[in-house]
């Protein structure tokens, strides 16, 4: 994970944040389970088959869907293909560099992808044109243009909104809405001191010992999890993270993904 602009989060700032947390308050005044302000503009890029502009606090991402014809994977001849790519653009943060995705970017893309894939959000069986030969390939591409932490949740919200608005079309074929259902909400938390904080800012991410993401669906089931960063979590903390994710995720779903 990137450091802040100067490369190091000052010890003074860190002390201040931890102190605040003892009083149950985060640096920006939020409560531990509170997300920052979320703004979602669906269908932001007309040229894409589906798209969304997501602002999660000062984190901003644009998700776009392209759907093209191609070959299925040999081991799943009767399914379309879903692929998720995240670009942490160098415009988004002083230390981000141009070039192929690094391990941070790959992890984020794969966790976002996993949530959507495991919830079977996109019905890939309906994306077959000619079994074993030609299927629809759904590309989820996400541009990170401004970075202030918690990319996994911002990108998941963007991907879901973009998928929901997506339409499959090609010359000489009837167009149809991309078959999308069972949307997973990811909730990412970091552990600072003994507290789990939802929707961490970049400063919270930098000073956190451990990070955990839990993706859940409306049925209350877990679809994907990922622990990140060097520190550890107790089993109880993980169970706590799951219950927070279910509660907070359900509210997010209600508000933003209906």
């Amino acid at each position: 994970m990137p450091k802040d602009a100067s490369g190091i989060l000052s010890e003074i700032k860190k002390g201040y944040i931890i102190n605040q947390l003892k009083n149950g308050k985060r640096g920006d005044g939020r409560s531990p389970e509170e997300f920052r302000k979320i703004t979602i503009i669906p269908d932001y890029v007309k040229r894409a088959q589906g798209s969304a502009y997501v602002m999660l606090g000062d984190t901003k991402i644009i998700a776009g869907i392209k759907i093209e014809q191609g070959e299925p994977f040999p081991d799943t001849p009767n399914q379309g293909v879903l692929t998720t790519n995240v670009e942490m653009l160098p415009m988004a943060f002083p230390t981000f560099e141009p070039g192929p995705p690094n391990e941070d970017t790959i992890e984020i893309a794969r966790v976002v992808d996993r949530g959507i894939r495991e919830a079977k959000t996109v019905d890939l069986k309906k994306l077959v044109i000619e079994p074993g030969k030609k299927v629809w390939i759904v590309f989820i591409d996400i541009d990170v243009i401004d970075f202030d932490g918690n990319l996994i949740d911002a990108c998941t919200l963007g991907a879901l909104t973009a998928l929901k608005t997506a339409v499959v079309k090609a010359e000489g074929m009837d167009e149809f809405k991309l078959p999308v259902d069972n949307l997973p909400i990811s909730v990412t938390m970091v552990k600072i001191g003994n507290t789990l904080l939802c929707d961490p800012s970049v400063e919270e991410e930098q000073m956190a010992e451990a990070r955990i993401t839990v993706s859940t669906t409306e049925d209350g089931h877990i679809r994907a999890m990922q622990k990140g960063k060097v520190g550890s979590l107790s089993i109880d903390e993980i169970k706590n993270a799951i219950s927070i994710s279910l509660k907070v995720g359900s509210a997010l779903r209600e508000t933003y993904i209906r």
């Binding site: 890029v45 901003k60 670009e87 192929p100 202030d148």
Partner: protein, 245 residues
Amino acid sequence: MGTESNIKLLDENGLRLDGRNEMELRPIKIETNVLERADGSAFIEWGGNKIIVSVYGPREAYPKHTQDIDKAVIKARYNMAAFSVDERKRPGPDRRSVEISKVISEALSSAVMVEQFPRTQVDVFIEVIQADAGTRIAGLTAASVALAAAGIPMRDMVVGCTAGKVDGKIVLDLSKEEDNFGQADLPMAVLSRSGEVVLVQMDGDLSVEEFNHATDMILDATKRIAQIQRDALVARYSVETQGGE
């Protein structure tokens, strides 16, 4: 220029597919400081183009051997989002974007007071979110605003426009169909006050007279566009003032 076709790009009244006359620009909107992290940023909507530009710097040029002991190096990076065009664009630079990044970097270098910041670089990241013909000029025009918004000392603003030939006629600010099926494309950018040309590329088929006509139209249009640039920068400052600074 693109493929030949039977598509008629001008109607019997000489109007274009989107209803514009030959001198008419598509709608242009510029907004500054749309991003938090960048030292300066701008967003431009120009017809169907949506482009975000962010500026970082001046900061130490890296790697060291790229430093110029006499001046700052302007490094523009033009990039298209995968979903910005009809057929998905594979992430990463291709030959076209490398060339565009080069000519934009050169054009901006004329405008920035590079001699004030030796050994540094100024990074200008241009992300095309939605492409609709004329992205390099729209990106460059927004980049100039983003540099100013970042407080980088500039001797002049860079402002550009495209002209082209469509059904045999010179028209301003090509649309996507005109770019695809027209007979010439002439993107040009100038320094706002001096009118000196800092970017010109051309491809297609133009007689000398057509070229002269096209440049006249472009120069006229850049004055209008420069005003939009200025308004965007002023709006930003006025907003800031309202905010109490």
